[in-house]
Subunit: 368 residues, 2 copies
């Protein structure tokens, strides 16, 4: 089996877990990032963008390039694709970076999404309110995640403060979606066009940060499950996407509503490291290296993931649980920082809930 | 969770898999080996023993030291333990390096083993033959593995050729054990003295090299299983062993007979990477770092491991099987060289046999 070399733009925990999953497939990793010491830096060479030759050095060191973040510079990717393939491609990346084009893409594929209006002035914001009704969420079209770059407008009095908070940036006003829970669907598409979809995850957020994912989502109807799989499959094909793609969804009475997509492995898919036959990281590497995809089916009937946020917590508590797996990212403690996660698997969903309860310090106290 | 630094003497596939399993526990790895490029070399720093300061540099770089091979120099370990802990300890290492003291240790603990005689001259060899009867196996007391350093004496005519082959070395003559199959039991002991034992593996060898391990061993009586666990537990405690220990066993009509032990993670335990809740590599790292041990129970009812020997074979064949996992070691092809392995897991042992059959090219053609 020939040794393949994958370049990763970024060197955080996603790069780290790609390298841990890809190394057994004879894949070697090179990271392109400003941080010399990082979660990935002991799992391959890191090339710092320190001078004009750095990028060429990076490109020449590898066979194929991927990235950790949907905020990866499209300009950078443009330069690389002259010389080496970048997966997922430019179209997946640029559509994910712009909330307006992303939502237009959803709409064009028949993927339900919140009603929305482009906002470039205070007058347009007032118009959007009258068209969409209240409440609405005002968002920057670019960047912003985990609740940043957003303002909720519940009543007419909130319009001005929302405008003051976000003006000067390109904005989108989105009708508020009345949802019962947040779900995500993760899928992978190979260079041969093969698609495999993971079971749908149910995600609990708090303070805008993912805390717990449970798989499969509790009591999800077959209809909605099929809908999620259809949504993501049509996106993968339309974008000619290669690698893992994540679609965040709202569960509503009238069906699933797409929130946003990320052209990458995703926090809500970390459960797959123990819970699926092939984890999202391995399948991402398989896909971008032109290998056949692995099974995305669950290896145990139930799985969950708890994020370790801000503080390490008592790791012995996790290590002592027979069906828990600890994944630390080699990062220092810092408020609101994702520094690790815990995977749980079980034959039985009540065991999972018992263990989440046993580890609730990680979900609550460590988290905030 | 504080970052711990583990030093590994050696940098082959065992070091590689220790690093892959230990990294998620915030353990960093430093390898001490002559090869700058090796299966482990992209997973941590490698310190070459190039000058008189190299060893001190290695010792100062880490918190605790372990090794890949039972042939690790006891003299080297003696130097290290002045400054840093080495696990497993010197007693485990030196007993494993000498077939005579190893067998005497087995005998002292009531662990059944083949009758044996020390042989230092041709006359003693003739005496051993008359005491033990024929056939016997003549072996060097030190080194030699995978069938090397051995001669089978079936009849009186073989005595001279066996002596010619091995004379000049310290030798042991062992009565031939009439066994139906080879088994191995792997266990781990923590710094707190906690012991966990993996299910017994059944091992198929060919040309003296392990080809396939199946877990659990087919139709092993509860009595024999208990015996294996007793054997290894008494060894672990007697040696004050910390880390993983492997005991190779012969299955005979009159019970289990110990063949040899290895103070390390073992090829016949590679199945545990998918088949057990906590693999042997993670448990070894947990043990030597003073963490609680993980469950050694199977996560699926059946597991198997196929060694990839000599040639890569058609890896897509493995990647296309839903319940197979490929583990390559980043090594070049070379006859008789272990360059990777395949793990299989299943609810049902007949699926495992079907998959082994489907992958029989790896067991036979690639192997030889």
């Amino acid at each position: 089996m020939t040794i393949k070399r994958v370049g990763v733009i970024g060197s955080g925990q996603l790069g780290r877990m790609m390298a841990l999953a890809g190394t057994p497939l004879n894949v070697e990793f090179v990271f392109y990032d400003e941080a010399k010491v990082s979660p990935s830096s002991r799992l391959g060479e890191t090339i710092l963008p320190s001078n004009e030759n750095s990028l060429d050095h990076f490109i020449n060191s590898v066979d194929v390039i991927t990235y950790e973040s949907e905020n990866t510079s499209v300009e950078l990717v443009d330069k690389i694709i002259q010389k080496k393939p970048v997966h997922p491609g430019k179209s997946s990346l640029s559509n994910s970076q712009h909330r307006l084009t992303e939502k237009e893409l959803f709409r064009s594929l028949g993927i339900a999404t919140a009603n929305f209006e482009r906002v470039t002035s205070f007058e347009e914001l007032e118009e959007a309110v009258s068209k969409l009704g209240l409440p609405i969420v005002l968002k920057t079209t670019r960047e912003g995640y985990d609740g940043k770059g957003q303002a909720l407008i519940k009543q007419v009095e909130d319009i001005e403060s929302a405008w003051k908070k976000l003006q000067g940036k390109e904005l989108i006003a989105e009708a508020f979606v009345n949802f019962s829970r947040e779900l995500s669907v993760i899928a992978v598409r190979s260079t041969a066009g093969e698609i495999k979809v993971y079971p749908i995850a149910e995600n609990d957020h708090s303070d805008g940060i993912l805390r717990v994912s449970r798989v499969p989502a509790n009591n999800l109807s077959n209809e909605k499950e099929a809908q999620a799989k259809e949504f993501i499959s049509s996106l993968l094909s339309k974008l000619d996407h290669i690698g893992v793609l994540t679609l965040e969804l709202f569960d509503t009475e009238s069906g699933l509503v797409a929130n946003e997509m990320a052209p990458r492995v995703h926090n809500s898919g970390h459960w797959s490291m123990q819970g699926a036959y092939t984890c999202q990281f391995e399948n991402h590497i398989r896909a971008i290296c032109g290998m056949p995809l692995g099974s995305t089916e669950m290896s145990q009937p139930n799985a969950a993931m708890i994020n370790i946020i801000g503080k390490n917590g008592d790791s012995n508590r996790v290590l002592s649980l027979p069906n828990a797996h600890l994944h630390m990212y080699g990062k220092e403690e810092r408020p609101d920082r994702k520094i690790g996660h815990i995977n749980l698997t079980s034959q039985c969903s009540s065991d999972i809930e018992r263990d989440i309860d046993h580890l609730k310090d990680f979900v609550t106290e460590c988290g905030k």
